[in-house]
């Protein structure tokens, strides 16, 4: 079987030429957490629903676990937690899982053990006999997670999996994602909560207004610019103006580390084009009489990375060839 669990070539789903997503070409290798990021309405859920055969693509083609999407067999080892999770609320939690186990073709002898394990894993042990209509939203999302994992899937689509969960539930889901990755599963994680997925994603694709802007390894993707915290004496706006060819941005910080306007700052958040510019920056600061106490590189947050790519795209007049693979 191919080591790519998802492959798409120019996959497009649009409604009368608008909305949805267009011309998405991506490859998702086995055993990683793939973050599919974008703001609300970017086309993320439409993409997942197209992959699962719920929507028919208007262009391009795609494969999932080596089979073309649309072939029911492609979904045999796939799990799905939808964003709009609604389950048959006249069933109990256990009845729902039994029904899904049957649909997924889980052997009868295996069902009870697997259901019990999953109920325990998602924290619903003891509540499985209650009707789903009595479940809170968080509990429904948890039973949805259990449903998604019932078939022991190789590929799991999680569409905003923490939207209804409290902070503890969110941490549990993050732990679960990491655990699944360690088991060799591939997780396709749809989210607009960037800081939620920052810690778990190996690869990331960013989609914005139907177009994929960039995809690739998260660490390389995040290498969009270099930020450092500079702590020194003698730093003024005039100094930074003299270094304008080297420094993209310099903002004063207060002692707590947040940006603030002060007359005599000692700490500055400084942005340079490349990491290779840092030795030169140190040299030039020294030449200008600045006494340097600290220079600490900062890892940009996914939010910064996201904004960098999205704003970069919006600055370009044409959408063609904007997609970047890192």
């Amino acid at each position: 079987m191919s080591e790519m669990v998802i492959e798409t070539w120019g996959l497009t789903k649009q409604y009368e030429g608008r909305g949805g997503f267009r011309d998405i070409t991506l490859q998702v290798p086995r055993g990683i957490v793939y973050g599919f990021l974008g703001p609300n309405g970017a086309g993320k859920s439409t993409f997942v629903r197209t992959m699962l055969g719920l929507l028919h693509p208007t262009g391009g083609r795609a494969q999932m676990l080596g089979r073309p999407i649309g072939d029911p067999e492609a979904r045999r080892k796939v799990g799905y937690l939808p964003e709009l999770f609604r389950y048959q609320d006249w069933l109990t939690g256990r009845q729902l899982l039994e029904m899904h186990a049957s649909l997924a073709g889980v052997a009868r002898t295996e069902r009870k053990r697997r259901i019990d394990t999953l109920l325990e894993r998602v924290g619903l042990s003891g509540r499985e006999g209650e009707k789903i209509k009595g479940y809170s939203k968080g509990m429904q999302q948890r039973i949805g997670l259990a449903c998604a994992l019932l078939a022991d899937p190789d590929l799991i689509f999680l569409d905003e999996p923490t939207s209804a969960l409290d902070p503890i539930g969110r941490r549990d889901v993050r732990d679960l994602i990491v655990e699944l990755r360690e088991q060799g599963k591939t997780i396709f994680l749809n989210s607009h909560l960037l800081n939620e997925v920052e810690s778990v994603c190996d690869q990331v694709a960013i989609i914005h207004r139907s177009d994929m802007i960039v995809q690739g390894d998260w660490r390389r993707l995040s290498d969009v610019h270099t930020q450092v915290v500079v702590r020194a004496t003698g730093l003024t706006e005039a100094v930074w103006q003299q270094l304008s060819s080297l420094v993209l941005q310099a903002q004063p910080m207060d002692e707590a580390g947040s940006v603030a306007d002060t007359e005599a700052p000692t700490r500055w958040m400084v942005q340079v084009e490349r990491e290779e510019s840092l030795p030169l920056l140190v040299q030039r600061l020294s030449e200008l009489g600045v006494l340097l106490y600290e220079l600490t590189p900062q890892q940009p947050h996914l939010e910064d990375v996201f904004l960098h790519w999205v704003q970069g795209k919006e600055g370009q007049p044409h959408v063609d060839d904007r997609q970047v693979v890192l």
Partner: protein, 289 residues
């Protein structure tokens, strides 16, 4: 497919409307039983007073078929109503609520989902229809007294089969509409189609009575648009027409059939149901969810 069928059965059984329908059905049977019992007792007294002349015997036969006919007509009506209410949102409702998403994310063909629903809803409604049919016949046979009809087993089986075919055709039509449009639109269309079918049936009988071809043809056209009335009328003919009886009481009254639906019409009704089901497969397969 069987999982979907079981799920559909469970869904109907869990809905309050089903419980209400069962309670109202029992209330109807109780009322019908009381009416049959006292009606037959009064008729028996009248028979005693007027003697057993041929005219009185014919009147007795007419009243007994009409009484059974009205019971079966109402039974057909509530079976149809339950079929429409239970099934018209079977697909559209799940699409609107997104309940169907996780089901279709399983390795299922879409037509299996439709066929599973057909088996589940159809099976349950056939059981309900047969139970109601049996209840009405039982009332006639046990409480009917002088109004009790003499029925052969073959007549009962044939009529029951035709009676049970009604929900099967309706469920197929409901699933097609449900695959195509919203629950409310599908429900309105199906109720109107059902109404057109039955009114068309009456118009056709009236046309035969008045020898009015325009009315007869209108009735035939409505039967082609929605052939449920043909099934009902064929059912009454099968039940009321005794082969040894030189005079058919099935042809008389509001629930009789002056114009008997042919075997071909029954075949058409079956084909109609099959085509509806195929259209539902096709419609559901190509639509975005």
């Amino acid at each position: 497919m069987w999982t979907i069928a079981k799920l559909s059965c469970r869904e109907v059984l869990s809905k309050r409307i089903f419980l209400i329908t069962i309670l109202m059905t029992l209330a109807f049977l109780l009322f019908y039983g009381v009416a049959t019992h006292y009606g037959s007792r009064e008729f028996a007294e009248e028979l005693q007073q007027r003697g057993g002349s041929g005219g009185v015997q014919m009147e007795r036969a007419f009243v007994s078929t009409q009484l059974l006919g009205v019971g079966l007509y109402f039974a057909s009506f509530i079976t149809a109503l339950l079929s429409i209410l239970a099934c018209v949102g079977a697909v559209s409702g799940e699409i609107e609520s997104h309940q169907i998403d996780t089901i279709l994310a399983r390795p299922l063909r879409r037509r299996d989902v439709i066929f599973g629903k057909y088996l589940g809803f159809g099976g349950l409604l056939v059981i309900y229809a047969l139970g109601l049919f049996a209840g009405i016949l039982l009332i006639n046979q046990t409480l009917g007294g002088v109004l009790q009809l003499s029925l052969h087993l073959s007549q009962i089986v044939g009529a029951a089969a035709l009676f049970a075919m009604q929900p099967l055709v309706l469920v197929a039509a409901a699933l097609w509409l449900s695959s195509r449009m919203t629950t409310i639109n599908g429900g309105v269309i199906l109720i109107i189609l059902y109404g057109i079918g039955f009114i068309g049936g009456f118009v056709e009988q009236l046309g035969v009575l008045l020898n009015n071809n325009a009315l007869v043809n209108s009735g035939i056209v409505t039967s082609l648009i929605f052939p449920l009335d043909s099934l009902f009328r064929k059912m009454t003919l099968t039940l009321f027409d005794a082969p040894s009886d030189p005079f058919s009481f099935a042809a008389q009254g509001l629930f009789g059939s002056l114009s008997a639906p042919s075997g071909l019409m029954i075949g058409y009704a079956l084909l109609y149901g099959a085509v509806m089901l195929l259209l539902a497969f096709r419609q559901f397969a190509k639509r975005d969810l």
